[in-house]
């Protein structure tokens, strides 16, 4: 199985505090990998480095062989890595549809000036957005199950739906790798079932997924591989059944929180 994302010795210091300590792993293409660990273990920091939100202190990130370490978030996204946030960052004054349309814009080719110019010279009859993009946006909203809220302001949507909107928006950027940061937090059991189905559906489209989760039900159900982070260090990496019984992992979770909601 091809390695689409390779993390080598990734480290992050915040002042004197080491949040991520020499973590290495690789993601196989089109596989769902779970990233778990007690709170504050450094999982989000790891995602932030991979997605370019913060620069690493040491280490390398290789995406399809190319070194993307330290690249800014928009550049990383343009190369094909998308992410969601632990606390959603949707565009609250735009409609759900517009949120997704914002993601669909082809930014590899077009910067602000060409978009501004294009907006001025487009024909009178033509709508604000390319009809293909519009249809694609609608399809994405349907995929995540919020098609009916298309014209609703994102800020008015209930929290659980905004999480799905964020996923749709991330998918709109046509990523090869999708990083999900606790997508299931705040969901009730029925919504969790839908969530699992959605993630499986995304994988069917050929996308590689790395998912941070605390909700064990989701993680154990869909992960084909599990990585465990504790105090910034990787302490386990392998098949879920193996990781689950790994003594290091058990010890890490004992005394911390255990969400044995299986």
């Amino acid at each position: 199985m091809a390695e689409i994302l390779k993390i080598e010795n990734l480290t992050k210091y915040f002042g004197g505090l080491c949040a991520v300590d020499d973590v290495s792993f690789s993601l196989a293409e089109n596989v769902i990998t779970g990233l778990i660990g007690p709170n504050g273990a450094g999982k989000t920091t790891l995602i932030n480095m991979i997605s370019g939100a913060i620069p690493p202190s040491h280490g390398r990130i290789l995406f399809n062989g190319a070194d993307v370490s330290g690249r800014k978030a928009y550049a990383v996204n343009n190369r094909g890595i998308a992410r969601t946030f632990q606390v959603v960052r949707i565009f609250s004054k735009l409609t759900a549809l517009e949120n997704v349309l914002a993601g669909l814009v082809d930014r590899r080719q077009k910067g602000p000036w060409s978009l501004a110019f294009a907006s001025l010279v487009r024909g009178v009859a033509k709508g604000s957005y390319n009809p293909e993009n519009r249809r694609a946006a609608e399809r994405l909203l349907d995929l995540v199950g919020i098609g009916g809220y298309r014209d609703e302001l994102a800020g008015n949507l209930p929290y659980a739906l905004t999480k799905r909107l964020e996923i749709a928006r991330a998918l709109a950027t046509r990523p090869k790798v999708l990083l999900l940061d606790e997508p299931s937090s705040g969901l009730n059991p029925a919504e969790l079932v839908d969530q699992i189905a959605l993630i499986r559906e995304i994988r069917k489209q050929g996308i590689t997924i790395l998912i941070i989760e605390h909700v064990m039900k989701v993680i154990m159900d869909i992960s084909e591989r599990l990585i465990v982070i504790h105090y910034g260090k990787k302490i386990a990496d392998g098949k879920p059944e193996a990781v689950y019984t790994d003594p290091n992992v058990v010890e890490a979770y004992l005394g911390g929180e255990s969400h044995a909601a299986r």
Binding site: S51, A53, K72, A73, Y74, A75, N77, N78, A82, R83, F85, R89, I90, F91, S92, K93, L94, T95, E98, N99, L101, A102, G103, V105, R107, R108, K110, G111, P112, W113, L115, A116, A118, S119, L120, R122, A125, K126, G127, S128, Y129, P131, R134, D151, E152, L153, N156, R169, A170, A172, T173
Partner: protein, 336 residues
């Protein structure tokens, strides 16, 4: 009659009314007020693009107005070039300064950015006061040339009287409005609003936010500069006061009351407040005092407190209440 046909007819009717206005109401004073309202509406629309759609708090907007005014005046007076080119040049130079002011916005936001922009405008105003050789200091530039007449077919159009200058300003206002609608209702616009609503979120979907900030500062400044140039050839006097904080505050008061972040709000605010201001001036004899600016302050406070979304917001709210739409956005809902 389909929605689009109705829309088109409405637009044609409005433009027709605007075209014959000076022929119907010929009073010079009234037209003077209308021309100034038009110039102000270009200011408000340009500020709205920056603050309302892109979330960049620029309190130095008057600087762009002043740069456009001074440039246009100086180009016409010292270089002997046609004022029409000066007008355009004023916009371009102002746009350049807008680009410069974009750089602080890359690192700063909120009050930090606000003060930096005020500082920028203040420094430029002091330059205008002190670089007497160029700007004649506090006296300002007077006797600015008129826009040169243009010949169309057998007609010669001159731009001395308000009723004629009106058409230049009207053209500029319509052009600005057209650009603003296109900018905001497009992929560009949705990217700007993404930047406004959540900068980090915008970056996560590939938006190079720095480039967008520089672009929108430049565009906003360009239009403000055009407004300045139009002012220069109308009032025919520019002074450092043209760049004062009060000009900026007028602009933002009009925009907020009209409706920040809407396309019609800025024009509505500019026109309404200009007319209100003049009406109050006539009442000054009655009240024995000038309460216009006091009213500005009160209106601004009340608007933010109670009428968030400005007048346009209020109209939209009423419309939704009476036609039973859900809590969605109107106006732009029908995207091609």
């Amino acid at each position: 009659m389909s929605r689009q046909v109705r829309h088109l007819l409405g637009t044609v009717a409005v433009i027709a009314a605007l075209l014959i206005l000076p022929r119907v109401i010929q009073e010079r004073y009234f037209l003077h007020v209308v021309v100034m309202a038009g110039i102000y509406s270009i200011m408000t629309m340009s500020w709205n693009l920056l603050a309302g759609y892109s979330g960049q708090l620029n309190l130095g907007h008057a600087a762009f107005f002043g740069i456009g005014a001074y440039t246009s005046a100086l180009v016409a007076m010292k270089l002997g070039v046609s004022p029409w080119f000066g007008l355009l040049g004023g916009g371009v130079i102002a746009g350049f300064f807008g680009f410069l002011l974009g750089f602080p916005s890359l690192r700063l936001s909120g009050p930090y950015l606000a003060i930096t922009t005020i500082g920028f405008a203040e420094i430029l105003r002091l330059v205008a006061v002190n670089w007497v050789d160029l700007t004649r200091g506090s006296l300002g530039l007077s006797g600015i040339p008129l826009l040169t007449p243009i010949r169309v077919g057998g007609l010669k159009l001159e731009f001395y009287f308000e009723r004629d200058y009106y058409y230049v300003v009207l053209a500029a206002v319509l052009f600005t409005y057209f650009c603003m609608r296109r900018f905001t209702d497009s992929e560009f616009g949705v990217s700007l609003q993404a930047l406004r609503d959540d900068e980090q979120g915008a970056q996560s979907i590939g938006i190079h936010t720095s480039q967008y900030k520089l672009a929108v500062f430049t565009l906003s400044a360009f239009f403000a500069g055009i407004a300045g140039g139009l002012f220069a050839h109308f009032a025919r006097l520019v002074s450092p006061d043209t760049m004062s904080l009060h000009v900026t505050f007028d602009t933002l008061t009009m925009t907020m009351i009209g409706g920040l972040g809407t396309t019609a709000g800025p024009i509505l605010g500019a026109v309404l407040l200009s007319l209100l201001s003049e009406w109050l001036r006539t009442l000054e004899d009655f009240f024995k005092m000038d309460i216009r600016l006091v009213l500005y302050g009160i209106l601004l406070i009340l608007t933010i407190r109670f009428m968030h979304g400005g007048l346009v917001g209020v109209f939209q709210g009423l419309k939704e209440r009476f036609s039973g739409y859900g809590r969605t956005r109107n106006g732009g809902a029908d995207h091609g």
